[in-house]
Amino acid sequence: MNELRTLLSATTARVLAEASGKPANAVWHAIAEAGLNKVLVSEDAGGFGGTWEDALAVIQPCGTHATNAPLPEAILATHLAQAANLTLPDSMITIAAHAEGTLTQNSFSGTLRFVPWGRDASHVLTALGETLILLAIADAKIEQHQNPASEPRDTLTFTNAPAQSANLATDLLADLALLRTAQIAGALEQALALSVQYTRERKQFGRALAQFQAIQQQLAILAEETAAANMAAAAAFAAKDKGDAAFEIAAAKLRANRAARASTGIAHQVHGAMGFTAEYQLHPLTTRLWAYQTEAGNERHWAEKLGKQIAQRGAKNFWPDLVARAER
């Protein structure tokens, strides 16, 4: 690990642990003070000048700590806004994968759905067709909704709202999928840690649950799936640093979703009724793992995309293509 990444990991762990359980604005305040939202921003512009692999060291812990703020979204939005020369205020910014509506002469009318922390953020970056637009949420009518983890996923409606715009140079849904892949990996790590801890402490039939082979075998699967999600996320972030990462992101989100699907049941099963209580801290993880499987494309979405591509390239190209992507 390089020096920057070590620093980012330590800072992120400290900031997010301290912010745990606090309201979104307080969490954001701590994040902004540490500058974590600017990990991808160049040093000249006051950021860390990090790579995507460095950003992973900040984004993955958001899953581990079930962070109550759109830090992954803000990292991406800040990066994209800077690249597109949009003027960004130094406040909480979020992202919506796409907008429905019309943009005429820097004025936007339309709707953004499932906006993470729409009610708390000051600005939102979104894609309208091939155009990237930045909107002030003060101009929106907000309808509050939430995902299965009770994270805000609001509907924002704009009428003739002033908008900054630029050409869209990325696939926003894929970028969001990349973020969720890392968050899934982080949440799985913590669900595994809790499961190991709980089964070592909880005794039945005179011995710790961890000593039963049936439990051991299940937790081994949980650990393997966690490792797979970690690998998928890390490899996708590494690919993103090389340029086009469409293939890797699709594969990584698919694999991370599968890991989440296989794992939440195990984590709950070994925790018994305790894991089902509002008080115990398993549910902030498992509910996020459910939510993130839907968000930014479920398995069906990415499998279809990947499957179509592979079939078009045919059996002869399959392996050479797979290898060539890793050896760019």
Binding site: E53, E189, L192, A193, V196, Q197, T199, R200, A210, Q211, Q213, I215, Q216, Q217, L219, A220, I221, A223, E224, T226, A227, A228, N230, M231, A232, A234, A235, A238, E248, A250, A251, A252, L254, R255, R258, E299, R300, W302, A303, E304, K305, L306, G307, K308, I310, A311, Q312, G314, A315, F318, W319, L322, V323, A326, E327
Partner: protein, 381 residues
Amino acid sequence: MRKFQFTPYEMPQAAKGLRAEVRAFLAAEMPTSTPAEKSRSWSGGDAAFSRKLGKRGWLGMTLPKKYGGHDRSYAERYVVIEEMLVAGAPVGLHWVADRQSGPLILRYGTEEQRQTLLPKIAAGEAFFCIGMSEPGSGSDLASVRTRARKVEGGWRINGQKIWTSTAQHAHYMIALVRTGEAETRHAGLTQFLVDMKSEGLTVKPIANITGESHFNEVFFDDVFVPDTMLIGNEGGGWQQVTAELAFERSGPERYLSSIRLFLEFLRVTGENPTELEQQLLGRLTAELWTLRQMSMSVMGKLAAGEDPTAEATVVKDLGTSFEQELPRLVQANTRSDVLLESGHVFDDTLTYLLQSAPSFSLRGGTREILRGIIARELGLR
């Protein structure tokens, strides 16, 4: 609790050029074979092909030049073996020698053993088998009862090994046998190099459910092994065996066993897949891509001198689960008219892999043993 470390691995430049050479070689030199034959891969074998690989310098690649090796990197060897596996090349005869016997002899062997055996391994002229399992000793390997008794100038071995793959073709066995007291279990085990032509040694092939004989029974009736053929330390066998597990459990052969059927499925699916076919292709590709990253990550740690035995265990269980599930999924999702259109080409591949798939999660450490190891790493036991 231990955290499993998987980090992206970047192939070095030298490995990339080598890949093109390997593909050109395979295009020119691989024996003509059907997809079903290709799916045998490291379970199939061809002595002439093994010697060709030896001539090209693609066996014993990581061994030092002074022992007939090539001083190449783990990454370069990885490139060669994954290309061989994907092409379905008949690599089974030299597989064990190249993967683990060579490195084991280099690490623990005497200078004489290195000088006589390693050049033959690198030339594709010495094939090895692993004498571990016994009738009463499978997953519980430390319970082996085959015993070596000290005699003048060497040892006399009596007992029986079973499930010994390619014993009928091998020139040598590396046998794990008991030289100490039975009560001490992990201690008192020693590894010997046994010449398969030794007097008193009998190999009896066992047909498996595919109808082929890949594994064997090997009987030892007072087989004499000279002192010079003891590997490493007397009584150090258990430690020597477990030291090689990261090599044995993380390679591409742990997730590519069913690749031929995946490619066949892709072929019969054609350019315009149904949504069902897209789904399956997408999911399997995501899994395969992730496994390759994980397997390469372990190789990278081995190359860096780290000990990724625990990570290798994860790769093997996930990898063999994938290659084992693949034939069932392909069978369930193939269009019914494919059999008519494709004749027996597709069907023969599917049949072979359906039959051989149960062995994937048995050979080289059963799924349950692997998960037990992972549980121990997690601090559960």
